[in-house]
């Protein structure tokens, strides 16, 4: 390392670095950056989310060059992208499925944080910035889905904007304001297009803050124990660059499979019918990534309460660091939390599933029970466990945990070639 530093004292990079420390910055944050040495593959999802954001912005800019934000022309302009623009089908399918991949990645990223207690002291703001990113993503994804101006676009926009009409007195004014008229129409489409283009750059800004907050204390790790000595860390490069790179390769294979072999698997066929303000599709559902929240909305028989509960389902995440005040971060050492956590995970899948089902009969009951557990997990179980849960024995350090896992609990296998 020393040799490298002296070597850099001359030359153009040093001249620039002295005036604008970009190389020092890169070195500090992507190269030498000390990272816990026991991170597992769940720690890949942050970088994957970053890559997905870049993919979405690049394809989005290129799509915007071909798209026309006008109710008369939007649907046809999208069809023109599919048929006439060179590789336009590829561009649109990457962007369309990229939205789904983005949510898969971010949801796994969040469940990771939830399992390993990454939202606890001193990473509260890091977590809250993440929730802000999620909210921005939801708004961006929703408005993007409106742009092709198909049946699902139109009626999705109508239903979601009408959520605001639930508020007493001001509700109708808010909705008229959002629409820029008295129904979802051209003014709505043009403003949604502008905001859909604008918000991703806001996301980039919040991501930057998210990274600043992350690098303040460094990554959490599977044991949830703080880094205690240099022996607990390894430099980011090459160890985690190569790990992220492998993860990226696997991710892109999955992404590419979706784009090339099942591009419309996650979409809804009704969105290939041009928007018709006179006819609502028989079975209207949001995109899959909104289904759990949609299920919570429909679980409640009262309009205002349903809407409030749905917003609360996201907002409750902001308060996570104060709802779970248990000192131990990682669920690996919290036998009870671990079980409730997995139940919560399954519960979210159930919510997503009932969200796609018609709102009648047994599905209503299931959605109510699942909604109850969703909020019960955050508001009752978490504070309760914070007080009473006894933990299993913690390892004394990250290194100790790694050594004991490698040499005590298991027979060392011949495949561990680094000690050949």
């Amino acid at each position: 390392m020393k040799a490298k530093e002296t070597e850099n004292k001359t030359g153009i990079s040093h001249w620039i670095d002295e005036r604008l420390p970009v190389f020092t910055f890169i070195n500090h944050n992507l190269r030498d950056y000390p990272t816990p040495k026991n991170l597992n593959y769940f720690w890949n999802f942050g970088s994957l989310a970053g890559v997905t954001l870049v993919i979405m912005i690049v394809t989005g800019i290129l799509l915007a060059m071909q798209y026309t934000a006008n109710t008369e022309m939007a649907f046809d302009s999208v069809e023109r992208i599919m048929r006439d623009v060179n590789n336009g089908w590829l561009l649109r399918y990457i962007h369309m499925n990229g939205a789904s991949m983005f949510f898969i990645i971010v949801y796994i990223h969040m469940f990771r944080g939830l399992y390993y207690g990454s939202y606890k002291y001193p990473r509260e703001i890091l977590w809250m910035l993440g929730v802000v990113i999620l909210l921005l993503m939801m708004a961006t994804a929703f408005m993007g889905y409106v742009l092709p101006w198909g049946q699902m676009s139109f009626w999705g926009a109508t239903v979601i904007t009408n959520l605001f009409s639930a508020f007493p007195v001001i509700g109708d004014y808010i909705v008229t304001f959002l629409w820029g008229g008295f129904s979802v129409d051209n003014p709505t489409l043009t403003r949604f297009f502008v905001l859909h283009y604008l918000l991703p750059f806001a996301i980039v800004g919040v991501v930057a803050l998210h990274l600043v907050a992350l690098h303040q204390f460094g990554s959490n790790n599977p044991t949830g124990i703080d880094v205690k000595s240099d022996g607990d860390t390894i430099p980011f490069h090459p160890y985690y660059t190569v790990k992220d790179y492998l993860g990226l390769g696997v991710y892109l294979i999955v992404f590419a499979f979706l784009v090339f072999f099942a591009p419309n698997f996650l979409g809804h066929p009704d969105n290939y019918i041009p928007a018709n303000p006179l006819q609502t599709p028989a079975h209207i559902v949001p995109e899959w990534y909104f289904l759990p929240f949609y299920a919570i909305l429909r679980a409640v028989p009262d309009k205002l309460l349903g809407v409030l509960l749905m917003f609360a389902a996201v907002m409750v995440l902001f308060f996570l660091p104060w709802l779970d005040k248990h000192k131990i971060r990682s669920a690996n050492f919290r036998p009870f939390y671990k079980q409730f956590y997995w139940l919560f995970f399954i519960n979210c899948i159930v919510l997503g599933w009932v969200g796609a089902m018609p709102a009648e009969g047994i599905y209503v009951l299931i959605s109510r029970v699942a909604t109850l557990y969703y909020f019960g997990f955050f508001l009752i179980i978490m504070p309760f466990l914070s007080k009473f849960e006894k933990t299993t024995d913690l390892p004394s350090s990250i290194s100790a945990a790694v050594i004991s896992e490698k040499f005590d609990n298991k027979e060392p296998s011949s495949s561990e070639s680094y000690v050949k």
Partner: protein
């Protein structure tokens, strides 16, 4: 096997440099190739789309154009000047001494049928549309076209004779489909 064994082992012995180089080069090579293909596909979306290319031929019926008259048609978003030249105009075009021209070209080389001159109506200086198509337009000192932007004069063969333009008016690719119909592009 314990932690101590791991520390005692000199790891540098076990590093296979050749294998590392191979892995590094193949990995980086594949990433660069994949990135290049992806980048090309994405950038290619900005090239003219199929519906744009479909507009790149235009058929024109010449029959209604009387001698001395001109017609302007659109081809690829640009004006095409078609002039049914009088014998006087053909003669002055041929009279000009090719060697003294700024952009040397004989009138023969610029027409398929001397009666019909077909040129792209875009000044080769900075892209304005020259005057001279309509009755009463200023046709410049050489009876062809005059560009009002920076004062370029074109003759009855569409050749630059005076002014800042460097080249003659471009002759687009065209064919006579029949005696009185041309297909441009």
């Amino acid at each position: 096997m314990s932690e101590k064994d791991l520390k005692d082992k000199d790891l540098s012995d076990s590093v296979d440099e050749e294998k590392r180089d191979f892995l590094f080069i193949t990995t980086a090579g594949l990433a660069v190739a994949g990135g290049a293909v992806t980048a090309f596909s994405l950038i290619d979306t900005m090239n003219p789309a199929k519906d744009v290319l479909a507009l790149s031929t235009t058929e024109v019926d010449l029959a209604p154009i009387e001698e001395g008259q001109s017609l302007t048609v659109m081809w690829r978003g640009k004006p095409i000047f078609i002039r049914h030249r009088t014998s006087e105009e053909i003669r002055t075009a041929n009279d000009a001494s090719v060697n003294e021209l700024k952009h040397m070209a004989s009138d023969e080389s610029r027409v398929k049928n001397p009666k019909w001159l077909v040129v792209v109506g875009v000044c080769t200086h900075l892209g304005c549309v020259p005057l001279g198509q309509k009755v009463g337009d200023n046709k410049g000192e050489f009876g062809g076209w005059f560009c009002p932007c920076h004062g370029s004069h074109y003759d009855t063969s569409g050749r630059i004779r005076k002014g800042p333009a460097p080249l003659n008016l471009e002759v687009p690719p065209y064919d006579f489909v029949s005696d009185e119909i041309i297909k441009i592009g």
